[in-house]
């Protein structure tokens, strides 16, 4: 044990600065309460305090900060979406990502790797061309590339995928990046805390008080809080919270699993995604291969893992990289993905006055952390949906105006 650590253990005093304060009690009222201290909730708190001067804000978290899908995703950041609305939104997020580390004065290990979405079929190639054209039109760097470019970028890749899924081409997206997801939650949390926001961990919301169609406050396991504005940013727990205010949504919860290998020497420079093989993979700065696949095939509201998943994903990884056959899996885990029918989020105002939703983040939420915080803080402060999120409003379903992003999901879920 390092001596420094032993000294802390003996005198019980941390000499390292803490990322945020602990508060023994909740205040009786706040100007706004954010449910969920994941990246999205903390980002909204941060921008509420920094850009809109709202600092009498509490962020309530049932567990610990960043312990939900913020800490469970595979950290891929990209904006090569399919709809112009989606591309515009995620591209605004990338622009925030690029100097977020400076903004926080914290190393987020933001690493631009380039992102290949491999196409193994003619129809996949068509979707890649479609996405490339939409992206270019919106000023986002995306292009369809051939097999040589892919092989040059990743010589270790078996271009035939064990002979049964030959790669025909790919959508290449140069801005594709990865980041250290925990640090994103800490950075937003620290920044919000420094500006006066209170973060309350292990504080569970039990009930929301709505009278005359307006939010009045909420009951937690630590007492009642009155507040005129509540932002719900709880991913896989969204239906439980929307039930508290009597709101119907299309959200259903499926587990999304991921896993990492033991650390190995750096060899994979890019981010690779295969829709047909249900694989997305990058190599972390620690050398682990970070891998994900498609959703579990049926509804479950827990974070259990399955052997099926590890077996299936490993088999597909070996189709792409046969030389990994002796590499061990280090860990696997799951998150609860709040899926929507059109693979776009549900953001903004709701029919309940003062109740705002930042939900439906399914399998695509991490990359949107900065822009969702930015747009939701604007929406909360002004009680008006930000322009960038209008296509993501809850009422789009009743209006049959869906924002179809399924073709841009990393793998065919």
């Amino acid at each position: 044990m390092p001596l420094r650590l032993l000294r802390f253990a003996l005198n019980g005093k941390h000499s390292e600065p803490r990322m945020f304060r602990n508060h023994d009690t909740l205040k009786s009222s706040y100007d706004a309460v954010i449910i969920g201290a994941g990246g999205h909730g903390l980002a909204a708190a941060y921008y509420l305090a920094r850009d809109h001067g709202m600092t009498n804000v509490a962020v309530l978290e049932k567990g610990y900060i960043g312990g939900g899908n913020t800490g469970r995703n595979t950290t891929i950041i990209r904006s090569n979406y399919l709809t112009p609305e989606g591309v515009e939104f995620y591209d605004a997020s990338i622009k925030l990502w690029e100097d977020l580390g400076q903004d926080f004065d914290l190393n987020l290990f933001y690493s631009k790797r380039g992102h290949f979405t491999l196409a193994h079929t003619d129809s996949a190639m068509r979707t890649m061309r479609w996405r490339a054209e939409v992206n270019k039109h919106m000023g986002v760097e995306s292009e369809v590339v051939g097999t040589k470019d892919i092989q040059d970028a990743c010589p270790q890749l078996d271009m035939t995928c064990a002979g049964h899924a030959p790669i025909l081409g790919a959508l290449y997206h140069a801005p594709g990046a990865i980041a250290r997801h925990d640090a994103v939650a800490w950075g937003y949390g620290r920044g919000a805390d420094q500006r006066g926001v209170e973060i309350h961990q292990r504080t569970e919301v039990l009930n929301i008080d709505v009278k005359g169609g307006r939010v009045q406050g909420l009951t937690t396991n630590r007492g009642y809080i009155s507040t005129p504005k509540i932002l719900c940013a709880v991913a896989g727990s969204t239906p439980r919270v929307t039930n508290m205010v009597g709101l119907r949504t299309p959200i259903i919860i499926h587990p999304l699993q991921a896993m990492v290998t033991e650390p190995i020497k750096p060899w994979l420079n890019t981010i690779l995604v295969s829709g047909s093989l249900h694989v997305y993979v990058s190599q972390s700065d620690r050398g682990e291969l970070v891998m994900g696949a498609s959703l579990d095939p049926y509804e479950v509201q827990s974070t259990r893992s399955t052997l099926d998943f590890a077996e299936g994903l490993s088999a597909h990884m070996l189709d792409m990289f046969p030389f990994l056959s002796n590499v061990k899996i280090n860990r696997q885990w799951a998150g609860m993905a709040d899926m929507t029918p059109d693979f776009a989020p549900i953001m903004g105002k709701t029919p309940v006055e003062g109740f705002y939703l930042d939900a439906g983040w399914g399998t695509w939420g991490f990359k949107a952390t900065p822009i969702s915080g930015k747009t939701m803080s604007y929406t909360l402060a002004n009680d008006r949906d930000h322009d960038l999120i209008k296509s993501f409003r809850l009422s789009r379903f009743a209006e049959y105006e869906l924002t179809g992003e399924k073709g841009a999901a990393s793998v065919g879920h």
Binding site: T249, P250, Y298, E299, V300, Q301, R304, D308, A398
Partner: protein, 88 residues
């Protein structure tokens, strides 16, 4: 390996089954309101609970009902439509 009990074929590996969502009653499109139709088409009950769901055994083409705790991921019972203990 996780097993599920097919009402016709008995316990089979879960991979042989296909999930088709919670059983829901379709409102009469001729008489229901637009709101009721939207609710039927899009809205779902995403909160955890013991739910009655449609499942399909792919190998034998059997559609049936499973009663499942969606938080514990535990199948309580399976039965053919109309043959259940609670009758449809």
């Amino acid at each position: 390996m996780k097993l599920m009990n097919c009402p016709i074929n008995g316990p089979r590996p879960l991979q042989e089954f296909f999930y088709w969502g919670e059983c829901r009653d379709m409102p009469n499109p001729d008489t229901c309101t637009d709101g009721e139709w939207v609710d039927y088409v899009f809205h779902r009950n995403g909160a955890p609970g013991v739910k009655k769901e449609w499942w399909y055994h792919m190998a034998s083409g059997v559609w049936f009902i499973a009663v499942r705790d969606t938080q514990a991921d535990e199948v309580k019972e399976t039965y053919l439509y109309g043959a259940g203990p609670h009758h449809e």
